[in-house]
C-alpha cells in the first residue's frame, strides 16, 4: 500500500488514529497533540524508508507507540503523570478502564522497554499474540514471553506496596 507523499493527505487520514493512540498511552490532550506533531514530523522525514508492502497504519502505530513510551519514561514526564492521575482525562472511546490505564502508565514508565512495547500491544490495545508479533517484528513465542515477564514483574512491583511512580 503506497504512503501518501502529501502531508495534508497523510495527516487527514491517519492523524486521528495517531492522536487517539498517543492519548491512550499519555493520558492528556496536550501531550497527545505534541506526540501527534512529532510522529508526523518523523514520519515525513522517514517516509523514504517506509516499505511499500507494509500498512501505513501499522508503521505509524509503531512510531507512535515508541515515541510515547520514550516520553513517559523521561523523568520530567514522570512528575507530570503523577499530577495527571489526579485528574485523569480519558474518553470512553480510548480507555475502557481509566484507573487501570493510569496504573499501567506508571508501570510502563519503569518497565523493560521491550516488555513495555509488548504490554501496550497486547494488554492495552488488545492485540492477539500473532498480531502483536507482526507489528513488533518478533515471533509469537517472544510476544508471549515478553507479556509473561511483564505480568510477573508488574505483580512483583505492585506487591512491593505503593503504586509505581
Amino acid at each position: 500500500m503506497p504512503l501518501e507523499d502529501d502531508l495534508d493527505t497523510l495527516f487527514r487520514r491517519y492523524g486521528p488514529m495517531v492522536y487517539r493512540r498517543a492519548l491512550q498511552i499519555l493520558g492528556d490532550h496536550g501531550s497527545a497533540e505534541e506526540a501527534t506533531q512529532e510522529v508526523f514530523i518523523r514520519a515525513m522525514k522517514a517516509k523514504d524508508r517506509f516499505v511499500a508492502e507494509a500498512r501505513p497504519s501499522t508503521w505509524l502505530y509503531r512510531i507512535t507507540t515508541n515515541y510515547c513510551l520514550n516520553r513517559i519514561r523521561d523523568s520530567k514526564r514522570r512528575r507530570e503523570l503523577l499530577d495527571e492521575r489526579k485528574a485523569e482525562v480519558t474518553p470512553a472511546s480510548v480507555a475502557r478502564d481509566p484507573q487501570k490505564m493510569a496504573l499501567m502508565r506508571g508501570l510502563l514508565e519503569e518497565a523493560d522497554p521491550q516488555q513495555a512495547q509488548a504490554a501496550v500491544a497486547v494488554f492495552v490495545d488488545g492485540m492477539s499474540h500473532s498480531e502483536a508479533a507482526r507489528v513488533l517484528g518478533v515471533s509469537r513465542r517472544t510476544v508471549g514471553n515478553l507479556c509473561d515477564r511483564f505480568t510477573t514483574w508488574a505483580r512483583g512491583r505492585l506487591a512491593e506496596g505503593a503504586a509505581p511512580s
Binding site: 492522536y19 493512540r21 490532550h29 500498512r55 497504519s57 501499522t58 500491544a121 494488554f123 488488545g126 498480531e131
Partner: protein, 281 residues
C-alpha cells in the same frame, strides 16, 4: 491487592490497530470478518467504528489545524537545520580548498631585513586602518536606526527566533549558534524580479540564506502577503561579524553575481540591495 494483577485492559473486542486498519481499508479478510462480526453484535460497537471513520470530528478536544501548522513549522525547521549543516560543510570545504591552493612550502621566505621592513609596513598599514576606521562611515554602507530610507528603498528585516522569543534585529545585534533567522523584504519593486538573501562572512565568503541553493527566486512568488520569506535558517557555530544582504535584481542571478566590497556588496546593474550587520557570538 487480593487478586493477582491482571494487566489486560480490553475485552474480546478487535484491537485498536485492527479497527484502524479496517477503517482505512488495510485490513485482511479475516480481520474484516472479525470487525464486522463485532459491529453486528452491538450497535455501540458499530458506533465506535463510525466514530473512527469521522476522523477528527469525533475528537472535539483536538485542534487538527494547529497541529498541522506546527508539523509544517517543525519540518521547515528540520530543513533549515539541514541547510545550515550543508552550508557549514561547504564553507569548511572551501576553506580547506583554499589552504590546499596555498601550501606552506610555496609561501615566500623572508630575510631579517625583509621582516624588519615588512614589520614597519604593517605598522603603517595598521595606522592607516585606524585612521579610516575613526572616520564617519559612508551612509548606506552600514544601515542604522537613524538612517532614513527614501520611500521605495528596498528594506531587509531579519527576525531572530531564540527559544520562544522573536526579535527584529537591529544593526550590530548579536546572534548565536542555534538561533533561527527569518527574513522579510519591504518595498520590493513591482513587476518581475528576482531576489535572494545571502550572508557575507568577515572573510569575504558569500553563502546563501534564502533560497538555500544559491539561485535567486521570483520575488513576488516567494514573498508572503506581509513581506515574509518562507523558511528559516539556523545559525551554525562560526563567530564574528557577518552581513546579511537582501538582493533584488530584474533578472535571475546566482551567488557568482555578488561580490563583497569594502563598501558593501557589488551586484549587476539595476540590482538593489539592503544589508544588516550582525555579530555572531
Amino acid at each position: 491487592m487480593n487478586e493477582p494483577f491482571d494487566p489486560r485492559l480490553t475485552d474480546d473486542a478487535p484491537s485498536e490497530l485492527m479497527l484502524d486498519a479496517y477503517v482505512h481499508g488495510e485490513a485482511e479478510p479475516d480481520e474484516i470478518e472479525a470487525v464486522e462480526a463485532w459491529m453486528a453484535a452491538d450497535p455501540a460497537n458499530a458506533a465506535v467504528v463510525e466514530a473512527r471513520r469521522s476522523g477528527f470530528d469525533a475528537l472535539p478536544e483536538a485542534n487538527p489545524q494547529a497541529m498541522l501548522a506546527r508539523i509544517r513549522l517543525g519540518l521547515e525547521a528540520e530543513e533549515a537545520e539541514a541547510r545550515a549543516e550543508a552550508r557549514a560543510e561547504a564553507r569548511a570545504e572551501a576553506r580547506a580548498e583554499s589552504r590546499r591552493e596555498a601550501p606552506a612550502a610555496a609561501r615566500p621566505r623572508f630575510s631579517f631585513a625583509q621582516w624588519l621592513f615588512g614589520g614597519l609596513a604593517l605598522a603603517g598599514a595598521a595606522a592607516a586602518i585606524l585612521f579610516f576606521a575613526m572616520r564617519p562611515q559612508t551612509p548606506g554602507i552600514e544601515p542604522s536606526d537613524e538612517e532614513v530610507l527614501m520611500k521605495g528603498d528596498l528594506k531587509l528585516q531579519v527576525f531572530r527566533l531564540r527559544g520562544d522569543a522573536v526579535d527584529s534585529l537591529l544593526p550590530g545585534d548579536d546572534a548565536t549558534v542555534g538561533d533561527r533567522l527569518r527574513f522579510a523584504a519591504q518595498n520590493v519593486p513591482l513587476g518581475p524580479g528576482q531576489l535572494m538573501v545571502v550572508g557575507v562572512e568577515s572573510s569575504g565568503a558569500v553563502f546563501p540564506y534564502y533560497p538555500g541553493n544559491g539561485r535567486s527566486v521570483a520575488a513576488h512568488g516567494a514573498l508572503k502577503a506581509d513581506g515574509a520569506l518562507p523558511g528559516s535558517a539556523v545559525l551554525d557555530d562560526s563567530v564574528g561579524e557577518e552581513w546579511v544582504w537582501l538582493v533584488w535584481c530584474p533578472r535571475a542571478f546566482g551567488l557568482d553575481a555578488l561580490k563583497p566590497t569594502n563598501d558593501g556588496l557589488a551586484t549587476r546593474d539595476a540590482c538593489r540591495v539592503d544589508g544588516l550587520r550582525i555579530e555572531k557570538k
